[in-house]
Amino acid sequence: MSHSKKMGFNKKRQTLWGWILISPLCLGLTLWVAFPMGLSFFTSMTKWDMLGKAEFIGLKNYLIIFTQDELFLKSIRNTLYFTFLSLPLQLFIALAGALLLHSQVKGQRAFRTIFYLPSLIPIVVSSVMWLWLFNHQYGLINYFLNLLGFDRVQWIDSKHMVIPSLTIMNIWNVGNIIIIFLAGLQGIPNDLLEAVDIDGGRYWHKLRYVILPLLSPIILYNMIVNMIKCLQLFVEPYIMTNGGPVNSSLSFVLHIYNNAFKYGKMGTANAMAWVLFLLTMLISLVIFKTSSQWTYYEGDK
């Protein structure tokens, strides 16, 4: 009685359909993920300006970016600074916002819409808008600061304030995270919250012992996704500061872009892209490994 040798008609058809149905995915993964990644890795070991022929130079590009390119390390520092400044603030504010929007108040829908609106604005548009808000001379923020008697702040024109400024702008745009948190909050069973009420607990107890533990997988998800987003910071510095002043907002990806398309150093740029990939993976791994300490899945003990 061997099943494997003689497949029934139905089973054969199932296998065929199985292949047909997953073929777009397989094709997509090969064509748009595996192939470009391979090509990028190969390019990272060549000297290629996109115009002439590529010249194989082994791991020299990796050596160059770590030893000769001082902007490379600076761009990593800038990006990590931005990430570790933005990420906690973003998560905290989004969670606080979600908790507020979850409460039963009049006009709940209107509030939710208002908080989500920034996420609907294309990032280029919001960048240009914030460019004006941050303007030293005529910006709205400085105008109000001036009215209140404070000195004008050099937002994105100062070396020290440019990354915090980008962070402020990033926090304004937390609508997406709020929506995901809201969805998580709605999944928390009411009977657990009522149980806290019966035991005489206050809101803090609900938050600490019911809401946060049940929300922790969603916090993890938001943390990973937004960390990757932060590490890939590009559009805002590209449009708003072009990496300045004095390269203090030169992000990792912007530096890669400059090398690839401005200076025609495809090999170096690809080597950097691989370093970014490994860095992202490393940080994700650390977060995942430590997450078992603080995430709670129903069914866990």
Binding site: Q137, W155, N242, G244, P245, V246, Y263
Partner: protein, 449 residues
Amino acid sequence: MKRKVFICICIIALIGTGLCLANGQKEESADQVTLEYIYWGSPAEDAAVKQALAEFEAANPTIKVEPMYLPGDLDGSTYNAKMKALAVSNSLPDVGYFRPEEFGNYAENGYFLKLDELMARDGMDDSYLPQTWLKINNATYGAYTAAECQVMWYNRDVLKEAGVPTPPTDYKNAWSWDDFVTYLKMITIDSKGLHPDDAGFNPKDIARYGVSYDLWSTMYYPSVWSNGGDIIDTDGKTVHVDTPETIEAFQNLADLMNVHHVMPRMTGGTNVSPLTMLANGQLGFYVTGQWTLLDLGAMKELNYGVAALPILKESAQIYVSGVNVVFNATEHPEEAWTLQKWMMDPSKTLDLYTSGLWMPTKMSYYTDPEDLAKWLDNDVHPEGFKEAVVDSMAVSKNEPIMIKNINQIWGDYLNAAVESIWIGEKTAKQALTEAAEKIRKSGLLQGSY
């Protein structure tokens, strides 16, 4: 059953549309040629170029030109990125603008049509300014689109109100730097009407500035040269940015912002356009590229004038322009060359010159008074433009675009160094000495094309 019929109808409709579309593309007759023309610029430049292309089409009924417009950006990185993508994907257009700093690299790699025979055949060599034609290894691969340079505009009403005398227009007898700074202080006022040297002047609350210099690489050269300095030698191997003359020129510009408070800090992208400030009476002088005259000329209410550039030690000027090339990939070199010639000929595209966008590259438009009047005698070009700008081209030096890696030397080292001078973090001496060392070590000094 009904559903199947519906699906059939849909499919037939789709095929029908497809056939129609396919047919539509083949409508062009056999002797009709389509050229793609790529260019950058402000919206006003876009309109001006489209107009010139339309007139070309009207004069050459068998040639159709498709404009391919990219919004302008100062350092050209977007345009360069687009060009690179087009080159790699083998979809370069036929003719168009090209970023000067990338010209040598592409020319060496054979992306441009060699123009020498066509030029000799049509007698083009001698009738144009000698700087116009761009050669690599003794072969001509492109031409400067126009003759362009640095100019100093001013708002007449602002100067009058501040009591500043009418600035000289003779480029050889312009203001000295110290005089210039004195006048700039007369113009600059804070919101209480105090000048920079008055007690209680608040530099954080300035209502009207004396001057704004465009702060990007090309615009530094005239000041540096005027002081007897240089950036990189034309041989592409010697760094001059740490010479005392160069350092002083940069320090002078930085002092306008940080010491004299007569110039707004224009770093980063968060600026009101100086042209707008000039028009609003918030600015006395604006030192920029001559092509801004196109936008300036459109501001009918603004009473503007032109002044000769202040002289540090000697008068200096830069010859700068985009490059025009015919791409080697074109299937219609003859027609593409015709279009290239058209765009270079002021008698065909006079609007591009009278509107202030370009200055001609054709010699007779400088030497022949009749031709000179054709593009200078109008409301756009202010009084004194010939003495202050056109004549100053006599002392102009070419923008050093033939130095290898010049773009990256600026991008990776000089721009950051210069920026740290502008924000007052470092003195010009510190920043430029450091930058010079780094450039010497960077391995980017690989000679010139």
